[in-house]
């Protein structure tokens, strides 16, 4: 097995990877930008190297720096986490060239799946359901119109190099089509330097359901069942669960088989995710493949007992999968919430800042994947995710009840966060019934607002606590605040 690996990432996922590597007896090398010197992964890794300014373009995205640190530290492999360079084909290639193992698929698989048209064509050839659409070379106005009519309106215009909603247009009527194509091309050109677009049928209020797969370098591929990710705000996942409330045993088998086919079609190796759109009639369509570890991977771990990071490392080292498809278990129910530093009562404005005090929930069925601590300042340069809160229960109802308890126990003081908002989702009747699709948050946004009234005795108790604290501080005015006392090293001067 590897003796030492480098983690080319930050935040919770860096810590997540360090934990599994440490369990395997592998030494860990962290890297950090200016903003992350005090971050948990830097503190707990065996080694830590500075790689540049806070802007990711000057640190976490600079492939050459990461290779340099890997060589200097003697790390034999690089785990890219998610985001940053994790789906960068050139980086995978560069690692290979430099004799460092990239813990992820090879450049070809990343490239094929990264280009949406190539991915669509590859999937169609392998017999995977794709959203009805048109992606051929002839992009003349007439051809586009003919194909759009065949698909039927509304249609989506999407950029082949796309992602994150850029270069995407929803077209309801034929008369708007050609103009929309023109605009999408312009956007795609400026965002990705590639103006190729394609057409897809618009799937109305779909479910977003994805399958986890694992593939070794010896041609063995398994899937580890689905994750339901339909609770989204502006295309960002907020809550994920497995099993999907929509899923049937039969559909699971069919979709799982297609997920395995999809991975095989690109000679995939490592952990990957096949995303599908599923409509209310259980028609499903390949959406895209994420050629990396997914943020929401823990719910799969909770229900399968498989440590996906350990599997990634073993696969990268060249080991064969030790789990056969028939041995994959799915026991109980697991749900994940993403805890963000944002203000749900103020249009979800990001709310970076200093965490004065944090207490994470604990006890039966709870897992927290975080990276912050009391006194830590959440940098404003990256994603405002503080942690992932994951629960497991014997069934969906048990997991929902446990999540409510966990959210009640979770205490973050010093900045705005979305815990109260998440709690309201877990109290919402439609969510409790498992009757939701990707429109859930939009449709029930009014229900999810902070209630107008509060228990009066509770507010009295809060007022009493403030009263006491206020005078307590006044009396002890030589005692500085905790966060001042905890200021960084500069005080030593």
């Amino acid at each position: 097995m590897f003796k030492k690996i480098l983690i080319a990432n930050r935040g919770e996922i860096a810590l997540r990877i360090i934990r599994s590597a440490r369990e395997m007896g592998i030494q860990t090398v962290a890297v950090f930008s200016d903003a992350d010197r005090e971050s948990m992964p830097v503190k707990v890794a065996d080694e830590a190297y500075y790689i540049g300014k806070s802007s990711a373009n000057e640190s976490y995205l600079v492939a050459e720096k990461l290779i340099e640190v890997a060589k200097k530290s003697g790390a034999e492999a690089i785990h890219p986490g998610y985001g940053f360079l994790s789906e960068n084909a050139s980086f995978s290639e560069l690692c290979k060239k430099e004799g460092i193992v990239f813990i992820g698929p090879d450049a070809n698989a990343i490239r094929t799946m990264g280009d949406k048209i190539t991915a669509r064509k590859t999937m169609m050839k392998s017999g995977v359901n794709v959203v009805p659409g048109y992606q051929d070379a002839d992009s003349s106005d007439e051809k586009i119109l003919i194909e759009a009519r065949k698909i039927g309106f509304p249609v989506m215009v999407k950029a082949s190099a796309g992602g994150g909603g850029k270069g995407m247009r929803l077209v309801h009527e034929e008369k708007d089509l050609l103009n929309a194509v023109k605009m999408a091309k312009g956007e795609a050109k400026s965002a990705f330097g590639n103006d190729t677009v394609y057409l897809e049928k618009y799937i109305n209020s779909p479910h977003h359901i994805e399958f986890q797969i694992l593939a070794d370098k010896h041609g063995n591929v398994i899937h580890i069942n689905e994750r339901e990710c339909s609770v989204q705000r502006r295309h960002q996942k907020v809550i994920e669960e497995t099993p999907s409330p929509l899923m049937t045993a039969e559909l699971r088998q069919i979709m799982g088989n297609q997920a395995v086919l999809a991975a095989k079609s690109v000679n995939y190796s490592g952990a990957g995710t096949i995303e599908f759109l599923v409509d209310d009639n259980l028609n499903f369509y390949f959406l895209e493949m994420n050629t990396r570890l997914q943020v929401e991977h823990p719910i799969t771990e909770m229900t399968s007992g498989i440590d996906l990071v350990k599997e990634q490392i073993r696969i990268a080292y060249g080991e064969k999968l030790t789990i056969a498809q028939k041995d994959v278990k799915q026991t109980g129910h697991s749900i994940e919430c993403r805890i963000y530093a944002e203000d749900p009562d103020n249009n979800f404005m990001p709310s970076p800042g200093k965490i004065l005090n944090i207490k994470e929930p604990s006890g039966i069925g709870i897992r927290v994947d975080g990276y912050v601590y009391s006194g830590f300042t959440i940098p404003m340069n990256y994603d405002p995710m503080i942690a992932k809160l994951i629960v497991a229960g014997k069934d969906r109802n048990d997991a929902v009840e446990r999540m409510r308890r966990a959210l009640l126990e979770y205490r973050i003081l010093g900045l705005k966060h979305n815990i109260p908002y998440l709690y309201r989702i877990f109290k919402h009747q439609k969510f409790i019934e498992g009757k939701y699709d990707t429109r859930f948050i939009e449709m029930y946004s009014e229900d999810l607002k902070i209630p107008k009234t509060q228990n009066s005795e509770k507010l009295d108790a809060t007022a009493i606590a403030i009263y006491l604290d206020y005078f307590n501080r006044a009396k002890n005015n030589t005692v500085t605040n905790e966060f001042k006392q905890n200021s960084n090293w500069k005080k030593f001067n």
Partner: protein, 170 residues
């Protein structure tokens, strides 16, 4: 000693009537409570109001000792204290964001992405004056009415602190 505390947009006048060790008699508006209280850490108070147990986490904000962050039950609130000193001096601006419609500032630290006007320019109601980015999310700050740009205190690319004045209109 009395204190007015504004939580969740309601005012509460709090007054301690008596104290014996950690058993207090406290009046909140017209209600009188027997409270058993322990401060269990810098940020935490455990209160028993009769039999009911309340665990309240709080911290005065870094730049304003009269504004508190609070965690209580699932809620995540802010509250403001008005004591004798500040009762008269207080303007509405003390609670929450400023209501000064001529001052553009942001509640969070970030980076100035774009400024659309120069000093002296006319701005129409609803027009975006400045875009600020924090944590990959861009926020547009607009003018509430037809105004003139009086002063621009930052430039594009600047890193800004929370509540730092950015643009003054008039």
């Amino acid at each position: 000693m009395k204190l007015d505390i504004n939580i969740f947009d309601e005012n509460r006048r709090v007054e301690m009537l008596s104290q014996s060790c950690n058993n207090l008699v406290i009046k909140v508006n017209d209600k009188i409570y027997n409270v058993d209280v322990k401060q269990t850490s810098s940020f935490e108070y455990s209160l028993l109001l009769a039999q009911n147990s309340y665990n309240i986490e709080l911290a005065a904000t870094e730049n304003n000792p009269k504004k508190y962050f609070i965690n209580h039950g699932i809620d995540n609130l802010t509250a403001t204290v008005t004591d004798c000193q500040s009762r008269y001096a207080q303007t509405r601006a003390v609670f929450g964001h400023t209501d000064n419609k001529n001052l553009i500032q942001t509640p969070m630290p970030g980076k100035v992405i774009k400024i659309f006007f120069n000093e002296g320019d006319k701005v129409k109601a609803g027009e975006t004056v400045i875009i600020v980015e924090a944590m990959k999310m861009q926020s547009e700050y607009k003018s509430s009415d037809d105004k003139t740009v009086k002063k621009i205190l930052v430039k594009e690319g600047d890193t800004i602190e929370s509540n730092q004045p950015l643009v003054i209109l008039e």
